[in-house]
């Protein structure tokens, strides 16, 4: 039997190696897979507050990540309120927008949901007054009338008063009857509990100068627009989650860089809206989306702790839960390595 020269083996080996390399390369290449179909359930109907997701679709960030993402309108659909937490747990969607209180409540109820990012890193909630009323600090509310929504909002407002050493009984709290600012403008109330991005803009649009006391400035922060998913999803498809977040953040960056475009995209999703109003609200919310020294979508464990503490103290959360497992920093650390 003859010995095979080494040289005659090189070519077949090299070919085999190349074929193998191509094989492995093609399995790791995301573009060779069919695009993953994902959807996100909004917490409200299509408007400026989700502009970054529209931009991610329109500017092709999702398809770049080999994702096919649909955005589902929320709020009241066909007369029924769509519960965003319910939407993920039922498996009708992979992602939802939800606020911190809903998420913590669901966690306490044992539902397997988790926050992976926060679109708004600062809460928009504030005590809104008219500048000429000179109500500049919570103490100034003593003896005044303020309209506050019943439920969680009222509990937080009471928490704010208490944190400033104010007896809640010295402030007249009336329930809000609508989303408008008419009572404030007409003078029926001295202040109202609302969002700087909504009621604040409405006051400005009415030609008046608003004055704000953001809850966050008094140690009552909030996460109003979290991106949530199921623990199952995090466990089974972490790469899809990460790609979804990357593309969404890129969409939000586009909106920050060019709010006009963001407003245009919003109108493309909901033509019934008024472009200029969407643009104003979007511009007003950009400081909430990316305040100083933060990254888009970022969350802060300290803030989570504060939120949990405030909600528990105010009685909004009735059951205890482990706040640190309500959110995961896993993807943010992956996207923003430091």
């Amino acid at each position: 039997m003859k010995t095979v020269p080494l040289r005659s083996l090189i070519l077949p080996l090299a070919l085999a190696f190349i074929v193998a390399a191509c094989g492995t390369a093609s399995t790791t290449q995301p573009t060779s897979d069919p695009a993953a179909n994902l959807s996100i359930q909004l917490s409200w109907s299509y408007d400026y507050s989700s502009a970054g997701f529209y931009a991610a679709v329109k500017n092709g960030h999702y398809s770049q990540q080999n994702l096919n993402v649909t955005i589902a309108s929320g709020g009241y659909v066909n007369g029924h309120y769509v519960d965003p937490v319910e939407a993920v747990t039922s498996g009708s969607t992979q992602f939802s927008e939800a606020d911190a209180q809903s998420l913590l409540q669901a966690r306490a109820d044992g539902k397997p949901v988790v926050a992976i990012a926060s679109v708004q890193q600062r809460g928009p909630d504030a005590v809104i007054t008219l500048a000429d009323k000179h109500i500049q600090r919570p103490q100034d509310l003593i003896g005044k009338t303020i309209a506050v929504n019943d439920g969680g909002a009222r509990q937080l407002f009471v928490a704010l008063l208490k944190s400033q050493g104010i007896d809640p009984s010295k402030v007249t709290i009336v329930p809000r009857t609508d989303f408008g600012v008419d009572p404030l403008i007409k003078g029926t109330v001295d202040a109202l509990d609302g969002w700087v991005t909504n009621e604040g803009v409405l006051v400005s649009e009415a030609g008046l100068q608003p004055s704000f006391m953001p809850f966050a400035d008094y140690g009552i922060p909030s996460y109003n627009v979290l991106i949530i998913t199921t623990t199952q999803m995090v466990q089974d498809h972490p790469d899809q989650v990460e790609r979804f977040l990357k593309a969404s953040f890129a969409g939000w960056q586009d909106v920050i860089d060019n709010p006009q475009k963001g407003a245009d995209f919003t109108l493309a999703y909901n033509k019934d809206l008024v472009l200029s109003q969407q643009l104003t609200r979007l511009q007003a919310s950009i400081p909430l989306i990316q305040p100083s020294s933060t990254k888009i979508g970022g969350m802060d464990p300290a803030v989570w702790q504060q939120i949990y503490g405030t909600l528990t103290n105010a009685g909004s959360l009735t059951k205890p839960t482990d706040v640190t497992s309500a959110y995961t920093m896993q993807f943010l650390k992956e996207i923003y390595p430091q």
Binding site: Q136, R137, P138, G200, Y218, Q283, I286, P291, S292
Partner: protein, 649 residues
């Protein structure tokens, strides 16, 4: 004369672009424009470079100045905060208050009061332009504001503010940030409060006056009409100070090459489109200000920065146009000074060629063209003289020719008349000689008979001579008429053969004839004259041949036919071939000395042949013989009678 009509004025036929004038004008304009463009283009480039460099230098110094002012502004804020710290905190119970588990509300109010007092005192010390702090405040380690110069801030919690965490460990300057709800930018400097044991127990902070910063940046000295300086924060690329852009938004991201480079911590300069929605190209100098974490931009519109270049360029374009026009005018004048005399010369030459020799060129310049015109005039003068002389000679020649022709005609006429008059008495002499010889006047004796025969013989010879002279003169006087009519060349040959056989027998020579079988039966011609020609030639052949043969050949070739008479006689010497057809010439030069004959036979023959539009040729070899050939046009139809024209017609 017909060639002169084709001479046309030359300058009109020359295409415009080929004209000397056009070329000269174009050349001078091109020379001026090209040289100006080259020189000024180079200059312009230098000016462009310099003015650009100058603009950059100016922007750089402005940026430098602003940077210094900003640092001064920060130093001022730091100083003020330090003085608040030393005045308020060192000697008071603030650290103790901050450390206390159970704080006294009264003490809190007292501290707040003191802070307010100190802050106001500080504000008093400074004028508006140096009130760098708008607020001073103290917060504890939990972020709760316990005192502030702005009462409404007391009770706030600063834990979510960007400066909170860093402020707990060391002095800190917070990059300007957008404060939610306040609709304005904020900038904070902080200083930790340290107790006697060296532990940080709280923080004293100051809010900086960004309006002051704005006014520093808004000061536009040395920046022309479109120049501006502004700051852009590393936070979201927010514009920190008002820009030229009207209604600028605090929450908009501002981007440009300069902004982005400065925010990536680079200093430099460049030409790039600015941050505006409809970008304008600017010359920009950008600095990274680490103290503020911001970009400092000093920019001026490229258009303004290059006003000098634009103006110079406009000036040069104007200059080029003006100088081009001047060059065209000068070139035109110069070209005219060349082309006008050339045109004048051309026109004069054309007229002279057309026959007007009185033309002269009057240029009167003393240059090369003047010399050319002078030479031209001299040439024309000479030409005129020469032509006049030629004309005179021509006239003289014409007169002489006319006289000579008339003389010849008179001579011919005279000869014809004389010959005719001579023939009458001669005929009488011959007639009477015959009668005497016939014995009509009695028998003559032998001696008388012999003498009478000599008389008659000489009479006949004289008559023949006179007839020949008459013939030749008539032919020369063109009085011979060639009458063309059909005849049979075969019959003619037979007749001649019969006549000549006798002659041949007498002289013991062989005589042969041949006729080309292809020759038509009937030809058109003057049979009588042709016969005369053949007899003449044959007579000569027999006359000059002692032994051998004589032959007659009638032949045909293409459009011609001919008669060739060949003999084996003495032949003709080559020198004689040229004159044997002349009148009264025989080869030996004698006048019919050795041979009978007038010497007119060949002359008559030649003249007849010519009248018939034919030609005669001779080939001869001395001692061997001669061959005379007559070539005639082959006429088979009956043409009109050809009448000889009278001489001198």
């Amino acid at each position: 004369m017909s060639t002169l009509e084709s001479v046309k004025p030359l300058n009109q036929a020359i295409p415009f672009r080929n004209q000397l004038r056009t070329r000269l004008v174009f050349s001078s304009v091109a020379l001026v424009v090209v040289s100006i463009v080259i020189v000024t283009g180079f200059t312009l480039y230098q000016v462009y470079q310099q003015s650009q460099q100058q603009s950059f230098n100016q922007l750089e110094s402005v940026a430098q100045l602003k940077e210094n002012q900003i640092k001064h502004w920060i130093d001022g804020a730091n100083e003020q905060l330090s003085s608040i710290y030393s005045e308020l905190i060192v000697d008071s119970g603030v650290p103790a208050f901050l450390k206390a588990d159970n704080r006294q509300a009264a003490q809190a109010d007292s501290i707040a009061g003191q802070l307010q007092h100190t802050f106001e005192a500080l504000a008093q010390e400074n004028d508006v332009s140096t009130r760098t702090l708008t607020e001073a405040f103290i917060y504890d380690l939990r972020g709760s504001v316990i005192a502030s110069s702005d009462a409404s801030a007391i009770g706030k919690v600063v834990t979510i503010q960007p400066y909170f965490q860093p402020s707990l460990t060391a002095d800190y300057i917070q990059t300007p940030y957008y404060a939610i709800g306040s609709d304005q930018l904020n900038m904070v400097i902080t200083h930790p409060i340290i107790d006697d044991s060296g532990t940080i127990v709280g923080v004293v902070g100051g809010r900086l006056n960004l309006n002051l910063l704005g006014s520093i940046m808004a000061e536009r000295a040395g920046l022309g009409d479109t120049g501006e300086t502004y700051l852009v924060s590393i936070e979201n690329n927010y514009l920190l100070t008002p820009s030229r852009q009207s209604g600028y938004s605090l929450t908009r991201s501002y981007h440009s090459e300069g902004i982005d480079k400065a925010l990536s911590k680079q200093n430099g300069s460049g030409i790039y489109p600015n941050y505006e929605d409809t970008p304008v190209t600017v010359l920009g100098v950008y600095h990274w200000i680490p103290e503020l974490n911001t970009a400092l931009l000093a920019e001026i519109n490229e258009a303004e920065a290059q006003t000098l270049v634009t103006r110079t360029a406009a000036l040069i374009v104007g200059l080029v146009i003006v100088l081009g026009l001047i060059a065209a005018a000068i070139g035109s004048i110069a070209a005219t000074s060349v082309s006008r005399p050339v045109t004048q010369l051309t026109q004069a030459a054309s007229k002279i060629a057309g026959g007007d020799r009185s033309q002269r060129v009057n240029i009167g310049t003393h240059n090369e063209i003047g010399a050319l015109a002078l030479a031209f005039n001299q040439m024309t003068d000479q030409l005129t003289t020469n032509i006049a002389e030629l004309d005179t000679r021509n006239e003289e020649l014409q007169i002489a020719t006319a006289r000579a022709k008339e003389a010849a005609r008179v001579k011919g006429e005279f000869l014809a008349n004389v010959s005719h008059e001579l023939r009458t008495p001669l005929n009488a002499i011959i007639g009477f000689s015959d009668m005497l010889l016939m014995g009509m006047s009695g028998e003559l004796n032998t001696k008388q008979h012999h003498k009478m025969e000599r008389l008659k013989e000489n009479g006949v010879r004289l008559l023949n001579l006179i007839n020949d002279i008459l013939d030749i003169t008539r032919i020369e006087a063109r009085r011979v008429e060639i009458v063309n009519k059909p005849f049979s060349p075969h019959a003619l040959t037979e007749r001649l053969s019969a006549q000549m056989t006798v002659l041949a027998e007498r002289s013991a020579l062989s005589f042969t004839t041949s006729v080309d079988p292809n020759l038509p039966e009937t030809l058109t011609g003057d049979e009588q004259r042709i016969e005369q020609i053949v007899i003449n030639l044959l007579s000569n052949a027999f006359k000059f041949t002692e032994v051998g043969s004589v032959s007659l050949d009638i032949w045909q070739a293409n459009e011609t036919w001919g008669i060739t008479v060949t003999d084996t006689g003495r032949g003709i010497p080559p020198h004689a071939l040229s004159f044997i057809f002349e009148e009264f010439r025989q080869v030996d030069g004698g006048f019919a000395r050795a041979y009978k004959g007038s010497g007119l036979g060949l002359a008559i023959t030649r003249n007849l042949v010519r009248l018939m539009d034919g030609e005669i040729r001779v080939d001869s070899e001395l001692g061997k013989g001669s061959a005379f050939t007559v070539i005639l046009p082959l006429l088979t139809e009956k043409p009109l009678a050809k009448v000889a024209e009278p001489v001198g017609a």
